[in-house]
Symmetry: C2
């Protein structure tokens, strides 16, 4: 049994750092959670749709915590042009995030059809930007589409974009189903897939009546969770961690009215590396930790680090670590995943 | 378009009337909601397991509101004997409710296997008591069982009990899936099925992150909801209303902590008849209202009423009726389904 693990420069390839006061609370928690790199989602209000907005946002993040490397993304919308893609690439922006309309937090401006974006995808393929897909179609009772099959019904879109743009690097974000895992495995080397920490723990039973476990995509069947665990245990090189850590004020998670339900999102940044180690160990994949949180994702994105780069050391705690009940305070109080629960690993301060 | 409807003596064949102060709040609301008969669930603390307990409970209900007819049930447990069944039948108790262990409110004492109860079922078949099945198996990740397929996985139990006791009247309670509807249709005349009002309105999307719509069984896919609507529209005589109206203090519905989620249950008693009319009209089944809320269930239970019995009159309201935000007060405040929403029908005071 391992008691110490070293992980080279962990990278979270999907994280929400928000704006304003909440941004100040959660941005430093990326590093506290053991991560050196944050791949930053653009679903702000307004969404990050231009190079300038992304660079401004990056400066804000660096002002809050310069110790993390921030990879920036743009929000796919009709405003985005091939010209803007080239400009963004030159400015160091890494990816473009696609949200189907209305399926998650701040996605009201999301896309409805992909064909309209083919010129943008073509430019991205050419310059080497990554397309990040929130892989869900909107709910539609007339076609029996709901949050449970929204991801499965999205997979043909993934296939067709990949077929049309085989050299475009695409990441299917926060996969939650066996079907998604199998689809990504069946596609070429340019298609990767992020998996969150919380989807390794949750099934639908856990968010039924429990707002703190409610997120999009929702956690699915036990067999879907098993598929996520299996692909990590197998060490598949195109699957890697993207936490989708999504802070919401605790009030919006703990309470609802008949008119307004809970906010969708699970917050994991603050203890992400120990949490991931804890979960991987539970299903016998602790030896795949470094691949999952550092090597696979960095290789996919071409962000490999040199041998001898800073490593984060985890130690099995002699007494279980109790996850704090909240980070931040007042209206910016955020409840972490497994708040009050126990995890077995802790980061050793260097 | 109808503007007035008369319904003969509506009967709710599945309702939770609770105990203590909550019982005093909700019991009179059965009649307020337009119903003359309440088929009363036995999952109290402690559960109603004997004839005496059921009769005592019935007296309590009659003391609170003597204007409703209460049909009483026993809770299936190892305490229940064929002798007690005969005693219960003689005392006018109508049914026995089976809860799988741990799947809903106060079901910790529920059953794990049906074979052990075959002597009880045999006695019930002989004396003519009804078996009411909460048709879900407990969640079990190792067999990919969760709240979404718990009902479908229960259906083989329904089939086998019916095959073994073909004359035993069985009701599959609060069906939520197309598979359940089709199974019941395929079985003999002794198998009936209740459908709640709220499952005619909700799908999984509605309870995702919304505790007020969380109940057991959970609402399923849009196609499942469609199957419930279709079987009512078809006027199938073995499908009838059982509201499963399940009051919980609003605090336990509106708030959760990371450790404790929301209570499971939707409260519909207080406006059940107008609500049901409203929903049936939405899917073109208003002409089946009387069959669904009165005739089918009463016939199944042998509780037909004489021609000329009291009718409840509904009128299409010129201004939409706003559903109250709560009934009761303080710790016994209960939020009704569609609180603050609009329904088109109202009961005309006679």
């Amino acid at each position: 049994m391992f008691s110490d693990i070293e992980v080279t420069s962990p990278a979270d390839f999907h994280v929400h750092l928000r704006q304003g006061e909440m941004c100040k609370v959660v941005t430093p928690l990326v590093r506290k959670g053991g991560f050196k790199l944050a791949y930053v989602m653009p679903n702000l209000r307004p969404p990050i749709t231009t190079t300038e907005m992304a660079l401004t946002y990056k400066k804000e993040l660096e002002a809050i915590d310069p110790g993390t490397e921030y990879l920036m993304t743009l929000y796919l919308s009709p405003d985005l042009t091939p010209n803007e893609i080239r400009k963004a690439k030159d400015a160091g922006i890494v990816g473009v995030k696609s949200y189907p309309r209305g399926v998650t937090t701040n996605s009201e401006g999301g896309i409805e059809s992909y064909e309209a974006y083919y010129p943008v995808f073509e430019a991205m393929e050419k310059v080497g930007m990554v397309l990040n897909l929130h892989g869900e179609v909107p709910s539609d009772p007339t076609s029996n589409t709901c949050v449970l099959n929204a991801e499965i019904k999205f997979l043909p879109h993934l296939r067709s974009i990949h077929e049309r743009f085989p050299k475009l690097r695409i990441v299917l974000e926060h996969a939650t189903t066996r079907a998604a895992v199998e689809t990504v495995k069946s596609l070429g080397e340019t298609v990767g897939c992020t998996i969150t920490a919380h989807h390794l723990a949750l099934t639908v039973d856990d968010w039924a009546g429990q707002g703190f476990h409610y997120c999009k995509p929702v956690a699915k069947f036990p067999d879907d969770r098993l598929a996520l665990r299996e692909v990590i245990r197998e060490g598949h090189p195109r699957f890697f961690l993207g936490s989708d850590s999504a802070p919401h004020p605790s009030e919006t998670k703990s309470t609802s009215t008949p008119q307004v339900g809970c906010a969708a999102g699970v917050f994991t940044s603050a203890h992400l590396l120990p949490l991931t180690a804890h979960l991987l160990e539970e299903f016998g994949a602790l030896d795949k930790l470094e691949g999952f949180v550092s090597i696979n994702g960095r290789r996919f994105y071409g962000k490999e680090v040199a041998a001898g780069s800073e490593k984060i050391r985890l130690r099995r705690s002699s007494a279980p670590i109790i996850v704090p009940n909240a980070f931040g305070a007042g209206t910016q109080s955020v409840v972490p995943f497994m708040a009050g629960g126990r995890i077995n690993w802790d980061i050793v301060d260097s």
